[in-house]
């Protein structure tokens, strides 16, 4: 297969004025390089989802032709789409990075966490994440969060401080001036870094097209057995059981996000390649999270509350 970044010595002619994707890419590379330049032990969150795949691609570009010098961390809910896990492992091998896994299942098995009554495990990821940060003494954690995803994320700095408890204080954030990032912190504190802050879902897809970035196949239309619940199409299996009167059927769907399989919904779609997905996203009337995440419907400030506790 082709390497993600080709030989730069094949010199091209002049380039036109930087466009939106060039600007977003350059900003992301700049952020990643600042963190690598100023911090000792960064780590990048990596789930195999599209935003984290794009972020890892950017990291590889930022440091090319040197390898990505930091490990990646997957906070594993145990409720995985099998093809996403496979993709995660192949990508880790492809980029030659070290993978750490913080497993929610381990925490459930030994009683450090209890299963929630609604079955979703997304909120349970915070504790294993914070423990992994402490254990490995990570001082910077790259996340693929985008400000357009959620109203609490919209308030986040690009380099965002977490106190020694891993907590975010949205009422007392540092000013962030120009592109001069302050990555300093006191002992025990760490920073969360969001290189994709200013990207929208559509920008991410256009960039995937431009760069020819591979994704898990479930981001494209495929036939799948699904059950409709609260307006969401869930995939029955180990974590989604058919209830009384519920019936599943085979539909043509794709996923807009991947997460805990028990609460991440598919959308009806016939978009089977990247261009078709771009057209679909450009015309959508519902947000990514609104369409696919049952847990974000929990309450008005569900994301803010989780983020304050240290969620990504």
């Amino acid at each position: 297969m082709t390497t993600p970044v080709q030989d730069p010595h094949a010199v091209d002619t002049a380039r036109r004025h930087p466009d939106l994707l060039d600007a977003l890419e350059s900003e992301a590379l700049h952020i990643i390089r600042e963190v690598v330049g100023e911090l000792e032990r960064p780590v990048m969150l990596f789930s195999g989802g599209k935003d984290s795949v794009v972020m890892l691609h950017l990291a590889a570009k930022a440091l090319w032709p040197a390898p990505v010098p930091f490990p990646v961390l997957h906070v594993d809910t145990g409720h995985n789409f099998p093809e996403v896990l496979q993709f995660r492992d192949a990508a880790v091998e492809h980029y030659g990075v070290q993978l750490y896994v913080a497993s929610v299942q381990d925490y459930l098995d030994d009683g450090r966490l209890q299963e929630r009554s609604d079955g979703t495990r997304n909120p349970l990821q915070t504790l294993p994440l914070l423990d992994a940060i402490e254990e490995h003494r990570f001082d910077a954690v790259f996340g693929g969060g985008r400000r357009d995803e959620d109203k609490a994320r919209a308030k986040e700095r690009i380099v965002s401080l977490r106190n020694s408890f891993g907590h975010w204080d949205p009422k007392n954030q540092r000013p962030e001036l120009w592109d001069l990032y302050n990555t300093r912190r006191r002992p025990g504190e760490h920073v969360r870094v969001f290189p994709l802050s200013n990207w929208t879902e559509l920008d991410v897809w256009r960039y995937i097209a431009r760069e020819g970035i591979a994704l898990p196949t479930l981001y494209y239309a495929h036939e799948r057995e699904v059950v409709e619940r609260d307006g969401m199409l869930l995939s029955p299996g180990d974590w989604v059981h058919l209830g009384e009167g519920e019936e599943s059927s085979v539909r043509t769907v794709r996923y807009r996000t991947v997460g805990d399989m028990s609460c991440t919904g598919a959308v009806a779609s016939t978009a089977c390649d990247v261009e078709a997905v771009i057209a679909e996203v450009a015309a959508t009337t519902v947000t990514e999270r609104g369409a696919t995440r049952a847990d974000d419907r929990l309450s008005e400030a569900a994301m803010e509350d989780r983020k304050k506790e240290g969620y990504f």
Partner: protein
């Protein structure tokens, strides 16, 4: 700061695998004619709001998003629902809730920190930063304005130009935000909006004169009802100017306030050595950074500001292939033909290369609750270098009500002061007036690591 060497402590597979993720679809990269292939994406305009508390900044951003059909159905439903629960009886919904997303903001009905929202027209893509009006949160307004191409300053038609309006206009002028537009809001609440419009325009002309800046255009509008935001209003037949959106769409792309000399602060030295995934890169050595001004071409002579040594650009690596030429705004990696001593923190420059200075004067926008006094020891981050510094003197501060400089010996929260600085290590600073990037720095507290101030170099060579 020392040279960053890419470590080789990778434990994963060392070579590209054949079972790795396959590429989807054709590669649409940089085409052979040098233009990016694929659908042309519009350029970026970064907008920040400013103005006094309750002037309607958040409502205006919400209205702009709503009337350009940029609010998706589930977001609107959530905002309608939240509005109803908070006793909203007006039509539509409280559109301020589209940006006031924090629990505390919704409880208090104010903005506390910047919210970023995005929308695109056929003309351009917008990043909207909705900032707070409360004096207490001015640091967040400065955060939003520091990266803005345009600041929209709101004025409540009932109150006219007030202290916070002047403060924000002064901040925008100091930061040299390329464009300032005034939104005269809540015209639905005044008897004679035309007279108010004239009065506000006259007051703004006075402010502009005091700040020696251009007089901003004033758009009379109602964020609440949508008059003159996206759709022209029938209530203002006396106003012949454009709607706010039309005005934004027509702004020339961020008027370049930079000189065009090439500048690139070095972020990293990229040296894969034996960690190279491709044996041909074992001897690779490149200097990674963001070009902050000017352009660079293969074959150009560039100088390492500081040592003053010159070298030649042997290659520019960007994107998937090398390029012949790259311009400001792009993150690149430069290869240099001579073996020179360059590390993170150095500045590569061409043209009128700035000479390093360890003593300069600057304007600070003081953003901390702890006052600044002469003698304070601080850290300064400029480009990619952080050095120790001492504030040797606080000279004067800007009186916001008169816009005159008055003598001062300390700076308090939100003060705009002129100071003298001595540095432990010289920096290649430039006057902010000639370069928004070469003249900008941040002030950091060496003890608790907080960001204390935004700094703009006034005179790089203080006698």
């Amino acid at each position: 700061m020392s040279t960053t060497t890419m470590s080789t402590e990778q434990t994963g597979a060392g070579t590209a695998s054949t079972t790795g993720p396959a590429r989807t679809g054709p590669t649409t990269g940089t085409a052979t004619d040098g233009t990016a292939a694929g659908p042309v994406t519009p350029t970026l305009l970064r907008l920040a709001t400013a103005g006094s508390v309750d002037d309607g900044k958040s409502t205006l951003i919400g209205r702009l998003l709503h009337d350009t059909k940029s609010v998706l159905a589930d977001q609107l439903a959530a905002v309608e629902d939240a509005s109803r629960r908070r006793g909203w009886t007006g039509e539509l919904a409280d559109l301020a809730l589209l940006t006031d997303g924090l629990r505390a903001e919704r409880e208090q009905g104010i903005t506390i920190d910047v919210a970023y929202r995005y929308f695109a027209t056929a003309e351009r893509s917008y990043v909207l930063a909705d900032t707070p009006g409360h004096v207490q949160y001015t640091r967040n307004t400065v955060t939003g304005a520091s990266t803005a191409d345009v600041v929209v300053v709101l004025v409540d038609a009932r109150n006219g130009v007030v202290e916070q309006t002047r403060r924000h206009l002064a901040v925008a002028a100091l930061l040299r935000v390329p464009h300032v537009v005034v939104a005269l809001n809540k015209i639905d609440l005044v008897e004679d909006p035309q007279r108010v419009h004239e009065q506000v325009a006259a007051d703004l002309a006075d402010v502009a004169r005091a700040l020696s800046g251009a007089v901003p255009p004033v758009v009379p509008l109602s964020a609440l009802r949508g008059d003159n935001v996206v759709h022209a209003s029938e209530e203002t037949p006396w106003y012949a100017g454009p709607t706010l959106l039309a005005l934004l769409e027509s702004l020339p792309p961020a008027r370049d306030l930079q000189h065009d000399g090439f500048r690139m602060p070095v972020q990293l030295v990229i040296r894969p050595q034996h960690g190279a995934r491709d044996a041909t890169h074992v001897d690779y050595r490149g200097y990674a950074g963001l070009i902050t001004s000017g352009t660079v071409e293969v074959g150009d002579r560039v100088t390492i500001a500081g040592s003053g040594r010159a070298t030649t650009v042997a290659g520019i690596d960007l994107d998937r292939s090398g390029v012949q030429r790259a311009e400001a705004g792009l993150s690149v990696t430069l290869r240099l033909s001579e073996d020179v001593d360059v590390s993170r923190g150095d500045l590569l420059a061409a043209g009128d290369v700035p000479s390093p200075s360890d003593s300069f004067s600057a304007v600070l926008c003081w953003l901390s609750e702890r006052p600044l006094r002469a003698g304070s020891r601080v850290l300064i981050k400029h480009g990619t270098r952080t050095v120790q510094a001492r504030v040797t003197a606080v000279r004067d501060r800007l009186d916001i009500s008169t816009l005159e400089h008055e003598p001062a010996d300390q700076a308090e929260l939100n003060d705009l002061v002129r100071v003298d600085l001595d540095l432990a290590q010289a920096l290649p600073v430039e006057a902010y007036l000639t370069s928004r990037t070469g003249g900008a720095f941040i002030v950091i507290d060496p003890q608790d690591a907080t960001t204390l101030a935004a700094g703009m170099v006034d005179d790089p060579e203080r006698p």
